[in-house]
């Protein structure tokens, strides 16, 4: 048993830090640090910087453009990037579609699509959920009917994050309406510029509009855009859902946020003394700090098991639940820390170039919206209820 990283891993960490120091634009890290809105151009800028270094698709095989990192290296990179307040890599193309294509796509699909993910030519989004099928994904209704060399797609997807920016969407569609729920589903790639595709924003409770509904009305999709076999889409979808994601616990992001919280608690006052000295607030912070320290090791244990060939199973569900619980607890503490100053809401202040006088302590206005927005963490990406079902099924076996 040895929790220490090898000298090679420590050297790699230094390399990552140096890269972030040199290449991560301050303008971007400031936006992340202050919970401000990133524009499409911001996200593309960071992707391009990573791609220039060959680090964008850090879990891809080398032959497709991955850097050949171990899972430990990837964990180190994710942690350092988060701690440096780098923007997150938008996962839909790089981390969701690509692994499916690499495993199940044709050579033509791989050579056509993967390079365009890397160089930013195509922005991808995800078409899984439908209004009637949330946790019960297999009940989806969007249909794709074969018509010569095309599928004709009709239906509606929802919760499509950043769909407003997307060039392409990967969708689960029903190709055999008579098959049982999980059969008869296919995995289809659809050009968002096709006639009949319409994107409508869903405004969330914090006023944010990064998720969308996507409507398909008689959209013609070439059969060459089918991934794998017709009616086998559920297999690919499950692969995508259980695909080992080093970063599912979000340890680095939580650690970065916690450090900001701790610093903040030393500057704010409560009852005439530093907030950090308030025994109940200090206890809330300490519980989260301890949970996070435990979580960091839990995450490394799973990473190490994955590196040693261990399969991710219930562990990835545990990391998802605990990781999101900790992240949400931190957002709740930020809100709580600001007291009455969590109430003022000046959305313009989250945009670049805002010059108005701040209201209350720095970043106070972002705390409540961030708390509300992050309620999604326990809902999206497989709700925490679904994750608990998975853990119980895998370990109790009933």
């Amino acid at each position: 048993m040895d929790l220490r990283f090898t000298p090679e891993e420590e050297a790699f960490r230094e390399e990552v830090r140096a890269f972030l120091r040199d290449k991560l634009p301050r303008r971007l890290s400031d936006k992340v640090r202050h919970d401000h809105t990133l524009s499409k151009a911001d996200m593309e800028e960071w992707h391009a910087i990573l791609n220039a270094r060959g680090w964008l698709a850090n879990h891809w095989p080398v032959e497709h453009g991955g850097p050949g990192w171990s899972v430990v290296q990837r964990a180190i990179f994710e942690e350092e990037a988060a701690r440096a307040h780098a923007p997150r890599v938008i996962p839909f193309g790089v981390s969701m579609l690509a692994p499916v294509l690499i495993k199940y796509g044709t050579e033509e699909q791989k050579s056509r699509i993967l390079p365009r993910i890397l160089d930013g030519s195509d922005w991808w989004c995800q078409g899984y959920s439908e209004p009637g099928s949330g946790s019960d994904l297999a009940s989806l209704k969007t249909s794709a009917v074969r018509d010569g060399d095309h599928y004709i797609v009709n239906g509606q997807k929802t919760w499509t994050t950043l769909g407003q920016y997307a060039d392409w969407i990967f969708c689960l569609v029903r190709t055999d309406p008579k098959a049982k729920a999980q059969e008869g589903i296919s995995f289809l790639l659809i050009d968002m510029k096709s006639p009949g595709v319409e994107v409508r924003p869903i405004v969330l409770l914090d006023g944010d509009a990064e998720v969308n509904e996507v409507f398909f009305t008689d959209v013609r999709v070439p059969v060459g855009n089918l991934v794998g076999e017709e009616n086998k889409g559920w297999t690919y979808a499950k692969y995508l859902l259980t695909y080992e994601r080093t970063n599912i616990a979000g340890v680095g992001a939580s650690a970065a946020a916690f450090d900001r919280l701790k610093a903040l608690a030393n500057t704010l006052t409560r009852g005439g003394r530093p907030l950090a000295d308030d025994p109940l607030f200090a206890a809330r912070m300490a519980r989260v700090e301890i949970e996070l320290a435990n979580m960091t090791t839990t995450n490394l244990r799973v990473v190490a098991a994955a590196a040693g060939g261990g399969a991710p199973g219930a562990e990835s569900s545990m990391l998802k639940i605990k990781g999101t619980e900790i992240r949400q607890a931190i957002t709740a503490l930020f809100r709580r820390a600001y007291g009455p100053y969590a109430q003022p809401f000046i959305p313009e202040a989250f945009e670049e170039g805002y010059n108005g006088e701040p209201v209350g302590p720095e970043d106070a206005g972002a705390a409540a919206p961030s708390y509300f927005n992050n309620r999604k963490l326990s809902i999206f990406g497989g709700s925490n209820e679904v994750q608990r079902n998975i853990i119980s099924k895998m370990i109790v076996g009933l």
């Binding site: 959920s129 009637g132 099928s133 949330g134 946790s135 019960d136 009940s139 929802t158 919760w159 869903i202 405004v203 969330l204 409770l205 914090d206 006023g207 998720v211 704010l268 006052t269 409560r270 009852g271 005439g272 003394r273 308030d278 109940l280 607030f281 809330r284 709740a332 809100r335 709580r336 600001y338 007291g339 009455p340 100053y341 969590a342 109430q343 003022p344 809401f345 000046i346 006088e357 209201v359 209350g360 409540a368 919206p369 708390y371 509300f372 927005n373 309620r375 999604k376 326990s378 809902i379 999206f380 709700s383 925490n384 209820e385 608990r388």
Partner: protein, 365 residues
Amino acid sequence: MDFHHYDDRQMLADTLRRYLAAEAPVEARNRVAYGDTGYSPAVWAGLGELGIAGALFGEDAGGFGGSGFDIMVVFEELGRALAVEPFLGTLMAGRALAIAAPEHAALAEIVAGTSIIAFAHQEPQDRAAGDPLATRATKVEGGWSLDGAKAVVAQAEAAALLLVSAETEDGRSLFLVPAGAKGLTIRGYANVDGGRSAEVTLRGVVVADRVAADGAAAIAEAEAAGLLALSAEGLGAMEVAKEATIEYLRTRKQFGVPIGKFQALQHRIATVLMEVEQARSAVINAADAFDNKSGTARDRILSAAKHTIGAIGQLVAEEAIQMHGGIGMTWELPLSHYAKRITMIDQQLGDQDQHLQRFIALGRS
């Protein structure tokens, strides 16, 4: 012992509920609450005609209510409707004025609901209980000169008058400042949960008179009334969030059955139901204490209620969203606005931890 509201109070609640349902349903409320004025002058006027402001004051102040249970029913209904009209300022400043200067001419208009007043007491720095305010008033030619800043003052832009607290040579005094006073800056902004508040800055604002030389008792009355009102408002909002979630569990289907068939959700909604009953009891205790107890005994029970509403409110808001899933996070669904209001009540006038600590401290003294 009687847990029914007396007939006239129940009638008031029913009238208020009917009026708000008709005139300020949640879609209309949202347009107004997140709009430029942050409240509806028409609804405010309508509620004034119904005498809602008057229900918050006793007969000695020109009202026809004013008991803890009057405050409870009014704010519970305001909470059920997510009303953003300026009743909190009316209650807090009005009650303070009624104690400090019962003869003041402004009081009658406040109690009649024809004049809006804001309570400008909270400051940017959270002080220890006994520490002096940063806002100061000094005696000058022609009256008093005020300097300082007041934080997150509810609906200050809408107010014709501000009741301002300030330290003077001889204690914590109260002053009435007209909205247009020279040296007064009101920087308004939207609240994340609807309605508007403002930062209030006073730079050499001169007023002729003090409303009260020693305002401590009046401020304590205002804060006690405010705690009760926010607790009742939270309760009302929780009731609606609870009802919406029950309805969603009954109707939303996943895996071919209503999600309310899933035992894990059944057990969690049972906890929510139970805790909302505890929250109601806490507000009843607070209303009773407001009427029948005083000083430390009263304030301790008010803190117990505010703590309870904060803690149970977080449970109810988070569970309501989680059980709704993604749809519960959308602007379009009223629930999300209820969740925001329930949550933000715990940021006003001290949160659950601060009131737990106050409850402990008052138990020692």
